[in-house]
């Protein structure tokens, strides 16, 4: 099949960038979407042009590196699918496809379709972890965990941090991402210890990074390749509100003697 692509080209973070049209002949329906871009890039390189930059790594839907807007839909809008898992059989001869990077102030474009998602890393560094003392490994099943909690934690832990939620959100909010991390850790005994502090720290960092608020619209849920549910956002809100009204200053004397 033959496709027409309109791709966002931007040399670097300072460049203003713009949409560029490419005709791609000989697209095989068995190709993955990224392979189709590989083929286009090879032809660009042969012509001495700069290939289109896009992020990818595992190409099996588990690492969270890939991601772009395909015709205005994050990852192409296929249920539970990252762009690396989209195949060309979903498209037909003559299709016109628009490719754009994730758009958010907190995700500045590095080049073309690749964006800098370090803001997510800083949110994780603020509270998306548990504090574990070093020493010998504890016995695997020493702490009983309710099955439902283990399942909810696992569902939330499926988040690969790709950023599709931010990209799809009309407000460029990171609420689904933060909610996934807060739910993942907060459902488990090891994560409950720091539940309040985590909510305070991650919400604040999310705001410092310049992500706007959630308006409970649900576009993120539809875009998420891992089917994270809006329910996790309510959990962030619950944890944050509770923590905001119960948090107290650190003790100044604890451990001193």
């Amino acid at each position: 099949m033959k496709l027409t692509l309109h791709v966002w080209r931007q040399k670097n973070a300072q460049d203003t960038g713009g949409m560029v049209r490419y005709d791609v002949p000989n697209v095989n329906e068995h190709m993955s979407f990224l392979e189709m871009l590989d083929v286009l890039n090879e032809s660009l390189i042969e012509k001495g042009q700069d290939p289109i930059a896009f992020d990818h790594d595992c190409r099996e839907g588990i690492c969270g590196m890939c991601g772009m807007m395909i015709n205005g839909k994050a990852h192409g809008g296929f249920p539970g699918t990252t762009v690396c898992q989209v195949h060309m059989r979903h498209f037909k001869d003559g299709d016109v496809i628009y490719l754009e990077p994730w758009r958010a102030k907190a995700f500045p474009v590095i080049k073309d379709l690749a964006v800098n998602r370090a803001s997510f890393d800083r949110i994780i560094a603020a509270g998306g972890f548990i504090s574990v003392p070093t020493g010998s490994a504890p016995d695997g099943n020493a702490i009983p965990i309710r099955k439902q909690d283990a399942d909810l934690a696992m569902d939330a832990a499926a988040c690969i941090g790709c950023g599709a939620c931010v990209a799809a959100c009309p407000n460029a909010a990171a609420a689904l991402f933060v909610g996934a991390k807060i739910s993942h850790l907060g459902h488990l005994p090891q994560g409950k210890v720091e539940r309040d502090r985590r909510a305070l720290a991650m919400v604040q960092q999310m705001n410092i990074e310049g992500f706007a608020n959630c308006t409970n619209i649900g576009e993120c849920e539809a875009a998420c390749p891992k089917d994270i549910k809006l329910e996790v956002i309510a959990r962030t809100n619950r944890d944050y509100i509770k923590a905001a009204f119960t948090e107290r200053p650190d003790s100044t004397s604890a451990g001193a003697g």
Partner: protein, 230 residues
Amino acid sequence: MSATAVSLPAGSLHFWQTTVGKKAIMAITGFILFGFIVGHLLGNLQIFLPPEKINHYSATLKSLPALLWGARITLLLAVGLHIWSSFQLWLLQRDARPIKYVKKANLNSTYASRTMLWSGPIILAFLIFHLLHFTFGTVHPGGPFDEHNVYNNVVTGFQVWPVSLFYIVAMIMLCYHLYHGLWSMFQSLGFSHPVYTPWLQRFAKLVAILIAAGNISIPVAVLAGFIKPV
């Protein structure tokens, strides 16, 4: 035991400075305003009874200044905080995506949820007009305004069809606003459940439609000649 290591970012944000805090404020003030809207509608529906009823109801409210002014001050605060939060969030939203998409599709969201920032200001404009129209009586085309005859003020006010049309449009906006707001407030305050939330959404839709229909029935009844001035 070991100490935990999550510490707060430098220059901690207060509750009302965070997006989650501002949304919580919107939810609580929204709930207060919803309560008022229900009470207001129930009071208004007395227009379908003999004129003495609604006039007496209005006189009773005015004879209880503590209740009247308590409610007015609470509502004014709620409206103020609701608008203040939404305005600040709007500024954040505007800054959060400096470069717009060339193409953007909506996969999952309702029209109502995406237009809260439009329905809101329209309702505010309506509210100001409504107060001038029926509370202060300073803008009351259609006949003289008599603060002791609420019944006649309503009927002569709605006999001016452009005014009625504006009311009807505003109530449709209110319907959209309530449809999203009524279930969204629970989410903002941290309640979401795989079974109850879908019911909450259905309930929100029903209540929003009932409230709009109840309010719209009044200008429609006047224009249809079903309710006449006395």
